[in-house]
Amino acid sequence: MARAFASILWRGVGFFIVLELMLVPALLYWPDFDKHVAKFRAMAPLPVMRNIIDTLETGGVFAYVTGQHFFKGCNTLGVAAAVLLSVGAVAGEAHRGTLEIWLARPVSRWRLLTERYVQGAGALCIPVFATTLTIPALLERVNETLPYGPLMWSAAHTCLLLMAFYSLGFFLSTISRAPLSIAFVLLFFSILQFAIYLVEKATHYSLFRLTDVERFLEIQKRGGLDPRLAAPLVLVSLALYGASLWTFARRTP
């Protein structure tokens, strides 16, 4: 457990650092963005992008922060992290031949898999919350203030989508011996989802509509998660985790 924990911990720390490195310059750029928003709109090549900029302008600093941190940072890096943290969970062990010794100890498969699932989920979600906690302090540097509440609810909402991706990767890992193949498939899928998001007529079919700036503005308005969005995401993750347990219980080394 310590071995897996150390490995996951380093990946989580790495994810936190990269997220924060993206967040700091983005937030410090806010005054310039606010001043030149009309120019950005003029430069945007696609209608969907112009709509995003319109939303950022009307939503103010909260929209800008959530757009930069959750929509851009967490959706791109987060999905990559979800894939990297999940695909090796079981398939990685099978790929390097250590599945047999991992399973041969007197520890139940349910426990082995749950430990790994929770560790990966922690490494994925804790950096999202941790970086979100630094936002108010960073905003003070540009003379802006935001309360923690809506930001943390937005972080929770982002984590729900990331967890769905993570759970999908985790499930595929329990039925495969090829982590790299799963990673490529999932990354291709996520890039496809981003591509769909940018197409005006298809944008509503993209999964990333679930975590775009409009959703975060709704969260700010509600003062909490929208159960119509949150519940399906939670159910998807739970169903995939349950399926992972079922397939892992039958997995042959």
Binding site: M1, R3, E100, R105, P253
Partner: protein
């Protein structure tokens, strides 16, 4: 429902199929309590699949099993608590030091097991502070074996524990096995080194194409070896017909007579080969044998001769 009792390994009707391949036909097995039982058979005969099923790593398609009183149920956790296992594959976590890896392997065991594991590793002179990626194949095997022998349990299942070891380390391993067996542990041992199997096992279970083909004790093996007569002829035209004629002629004088290529294999009913030799000498047209062996056969030769099965 099978009887589940302490120190015993019992399997009834165990079947396992991987796609089209039938890895284990309905197989029955009883081992222990106590003693070292050798599980022998050629590659792909089903030994590893059987061991993995017994330890709960692979689910059987049908059948039931128990190890040290624990029935094979669910993911086999109860069995793994009562039985240690040394896997045939030796992929380890190279980034861990030997000591850390030993502790990792012994997760779920008590403190005494961890201390004993370290003691056994020291007997192998393993460099426990070195990272495992720097270990040789044999050193990795020794680490797995030390972990399997460390917990004080009544049953151990060891899949080729000596594979890749040099003769000195193999002797140390066999000595440890003997000590463990002397304390009453039941050991099911798979190995391709028939010489060492011969040295430590009291019982032999032969598996071929997923089926159990023979169960023998060391004493019965020795007795059979003493009754096996092998007569080899130089290849020639008409040899096949001659050997067939000899087989028919000798059949009433022996327990079993079989022909393999240019050899005649005779399992005598008793210890005295003279009647068979006399019949051979008197057979019209029989050429002089090229070689004649009696009373000395290795374990592998014996099984090849008796069962037509390559032991390893």
């Amino acid at each position: 429902m099978i009887e589940a009792s302490e120190g015993r390994v019992v399997a009834r009707g165990i079947t396992r199929r991987f796609g089209e391949k039938l890895a284990l036909a309905p197989l029955d097995l009883e081992v222990g309590p106590g003693g070292v039982t050798g599980l022998l058979g050629p590659n792909g005969s089903g030994k590893t699949t059987l061991m993995r099923i017994l330890i709960g790593l692979t689910r059987p398609d049908a059948g039931e099993a128990s190890v040290d009183g624990a029935r094979l149920e669910g993911d086999g956790l109860e069995i793994r608590k009562r039985c240690s296992y040394s896997p045939g594959e030796i992929a380890l976590y190279g980034e861990l030091r030997g000591r850390e890896h030993l502790e990792w392997l012994l997760r779920g065991r008590d403190r005494e097991a961890r201390e004993r594991g370290l003691e056994l590793a020291r007997r192998f002179e393993l460099p426990l502070e070195r990272r495992v990626h720097a270990y040789s194949h044999g050193m990795k095997r020794q680490l797995l074996f030390a972990a399997a022998l460390a917990p004080r349990l009544r049953v151990r299942i060891l899949d080729e524990p000596s594979e890749g070891l040099d003769p000195t380390k193999r002797s140390v391993l066999l000595e440890m096995l003997r000590e463990d067996a002397a304390s009453g542990t039941t050991i099911l041992l798979s190995s391709h080194h028939l010489g060492e199997v011969d040295r430590v096992c009291e019982r032999f279970v032969f598996v071929h194409q997923g089926k159990l083909v023979a169960v023998e004790s060391a004493a019965s093996i020795a007795a059979r070896a003493n009754r096996l007569l092998r007569v080899s002829y130089a290849p020639s035209d008409g040899l096949a017909a001659l050997l067939e004629a000899l087989r028919v002629r000798l059949a009433p004088l022996a327990r079993q007579v079989s022909v393999r290529e240019s050899e005649l294999l005779v399992e005598l009913a008793g210890d005295d080969p003279r009647a068979v030799l006399q019949a051979l000498a008197q057979h019209a047209g029989a050429p002089a044998p090229r070689a004649l062996e009696f009373g000395r056969a290795s374990l592998s030769e014996l099984y090849r001769d008796l069962y037509g099965v390559e032991a390893c």
